[in-house]
């Protein structure tokens, strides 16, 4: 059942993005930015955590989960250490994706050439 929920949640977010892309003049960069902001907003009242429980990996694959993990780390640290925790804990959870993307794209670009 969780596979079905994952399909529905992740697919609907992508479809929403595609509909926005087709009917407005926004670029893909705008759309990913909008979804990141939506993800951070949904984490303020712990709504996104319910989505993660409901859809499992389906809620962690779209870019909204990047905003969710940024906000989640920042708020978890701020409840411990006060306002300075926002600076210290922002990348606690989100760093894995960024570090992986930097490392892999550096290593692969040493071996592969751009084709056009």
């Amino acid at each position: 059942m969780i596979y079905f929920n994952a399909f529905i949640f992740s697919g609907l977010i992508c479809m929403l993005g595609q509909i926005i892309l087709d009917n407005t003049k926004l670029t893909p960069g705008h759309i990913t930015s909008i979804f990141v902001v939506v993800g951070t907003f949904l984490d303020v009242f712990d709504i996104y955590d319910k989505f993660v429980v409901w859809a499992g990996g389906g809620a962690l694959v779209p870019i909204t989960s990047f905003g969710h993990s940024l906000c989640h780390g920042a708020m978890a640290a701020s409840s411990d250490q006060g306002i300075m925790g926002l600076f210290m804990g922002m990348f606690d959870l989100a760093s894995s994706g960024i570090v992986a993307a930097i490392l892999f794209s550096f290593v692969f670009s040493l071996f592969f050439k751009a084709r056009d």
Partner: protein, 146 residues
């Protein structure tokens, strides 16, 4: 040529995209990636015997790896042309944007090329994410106490 005639001429050569078809393809691709993510989490928890929290991190690293590898061998660009947002919205799109800008500026050198241009497209996601997370974090810290 006056404006009306020009618009008619442009419209004749504009390819009209089938929006419903695009949306359904995006639904299919995004949904498949979501199922793949959940499948990877289950495999990691069952086979490697690690807690779910770590499996989720491994899953996102795996997807970023796949996005980088497919972009590097040139398959991902063809897939994006077909599925569009179905592959851009998931975290593979984040990896794709970094990988393609790094590869494109490779010949300009290690520092001024790759280093300076790596976050050319992905930087907007990080900036918007950090700024909005900070803003919402402060609001929550003030009103709800963290």
């Amino acid at each position: 040529m006056d404006r009306v005639k020009y618009k008619e001429l442009i419209n004749k050569y504009n390819v009209k995209e089938n929006r419903l078809y695009n949306a359904l393809l995006a639904l299919l691709a995004g949904g498949t990636l979501g199922v793949l993510g959940q499948l990877l989490i289950d495999i990691y928890t069952l086979v490697l015997n690690i807690p779910t929290q770590d499996a989720q991190v491994f899953m996102s690293i795996t997807l970023v790896f796949l996005g980088c590898l497919l972009t590097a061998i040139g398959v991902f660009d063809k897939l994006v042309a077909l599925f569009k947002c179905g592959l851009i919205i998931p975290s593979t799109g984040f990896a794709h944007s970094m990988m393609s800008s790094t590869m494109e500026y490779k010949r300009e050198g290690l520092v001024t090329g790759m280093g300076a241009n790596m976050f050319k497209l992905a930087g907007t996601v990080i900036m918007m994410g950090v700024v909005s997370a900070y803003f919402f974090g402060i609001l929550r810290w003030i009103f709800l106490g963290g």
